[in-house]
């Protein structure tokens, strides 16, 4: 009996690639918001940038 794989990965199709690319873009935007944004993305001025200041330093991102 073949061992069933838990969550089988889907066949790679154009649709899957498009979804994956879109989602990866979204996740990169989220990472950008934490790591680099200075208000352009968040539209909160420097508030979010200052709020996440310590996390940015400790996550190894260049700051200042």
């Amino acid at each position: 009996m073949p061992k069933a794989q838990a969550l089988t990965t889907p066949a790679v199709s154009g649709k899957l690639l498009a979804t994956a690319a879109g989602f990866t873009g979204l996740m990169l935007l989220l990472a950008y918001l934490v790591a680099f944004d200075q208000g352009a993305l968040s539209q909160s001025g420097m508030y979010l940038h200052e709020l996440m200041h310590d996390g940015r330093h400790l996550l190894g991102v260049p700051c200042h």
């Binding site: 838990a6 969550l7 990965t9 979804t19 996740m27 310590d54 400790l58 996550l59 190894g60 200042h64």
Partner: protein
């Protein structure tokens, strides 16, 4: 076909996001305990140098930055990296030469830990507040992104080189050599920044950098283990144990 066996991107993605959130919050806990004392010490040095706190009120209070802000940052970063890990797993699983989903997930997380944490850390070790020249932030940011990308290229080159060999020790040697060649070229070509003030305490700098490395290592380790655990249902684990 049972529901849990249905192939799909979404079920994997949700598990990646969940594992990422948990890993981010765990890393935040470590950062709070191990990193915050050093950030506060560095800020105290900065303020002493500028002649007392004074000036305008900060946009965000220190005790908010070091608690809510810290966990928000590590949590969101974890979610983003978890989503990316799950996507990479979905697209690359069939190319990873292992029969074990757990090994595949852990291998991808280990590759990321090496490529986007360890390789960047050794070229551009992170600095605490009070260190760093604001005039070079754009160059340093670009160089940091470049070293992240080159770190992943180095891991990829190692895998490709290892696959050209059949004996195990030769695979290890070829993989290591390819990795070091790419990292060596990257480190040589990328610019170097020396911006730590001569009078900044060396022990504080070291302690801060180690706490930052620990935060990122915990994030990726927990993410890899968490994601691997979530994609392997208990039923399969039991089968493997019984076999």
């Amino acid at each position: 076909m049972p529901l849990s066996n249905r192939p799909g991107y979404l079920p994997l993605l949700l598990r990646g996001l969940l594992a990422g959130l948990a890993a981010g919050l765990l890393a935040g806990g470590f950062a709070y305990l191990a990193g915050e004392p050093h950030i506060n010490a560095a800020i105290a040095i900065e303020e002493a140098a500028s002649g007392g706190a004074g000036g305008e009120a900060p946009l965000v209070e220190r005790d908010i930055q070091s608690t809510v802000g810290l966990f928000l940052a590590t949590g969101l970063y974890g979610v983003a990296l978890g989503g990316i890990l799950a996507t990479a797993y979905t697209l690359l699983r069939r190319h990873l030469r292992t029969g074990s989903d757990t090994q595949a997930a852990l291998g991808l997380a280990a590759a990321a830990l090496t490529g986007i944490v360890v390789v960047p850390f050794l070229k551009y070790p992170p600095n605490p507040p009070a260190v760093g020249n604001p005039d070079t932030i754009d160059q340093r940011t670009a160089a940091y992104l470049a070293v992240l990308a080159l770190g992943l290229v180095a891991v990829w080159a190692a895998v490709l080189a290892a696959r050209t060999q059949s004996h195990q020790w030769r695979r290890a040697a070829a993989g290591t050599a390819a990795f070091l060649v790419v990292v060596g070229i990257a480190y040589t070509l990328l610019p170097t920044f020396h911006e730590v003030p001569a009078d900044f305490p060396a022990t504080l700098l070291w302690d801060f950098r180690i706490s930052s490395l620990g935060t990122q290592a915990i994030l990726w380790t927990a993410l890899g283990i968490g994601f691997a655990g979530l994609i392997t249902p208990a039923r399969q684990k039991a089968t493997v144990t019984a076999a």
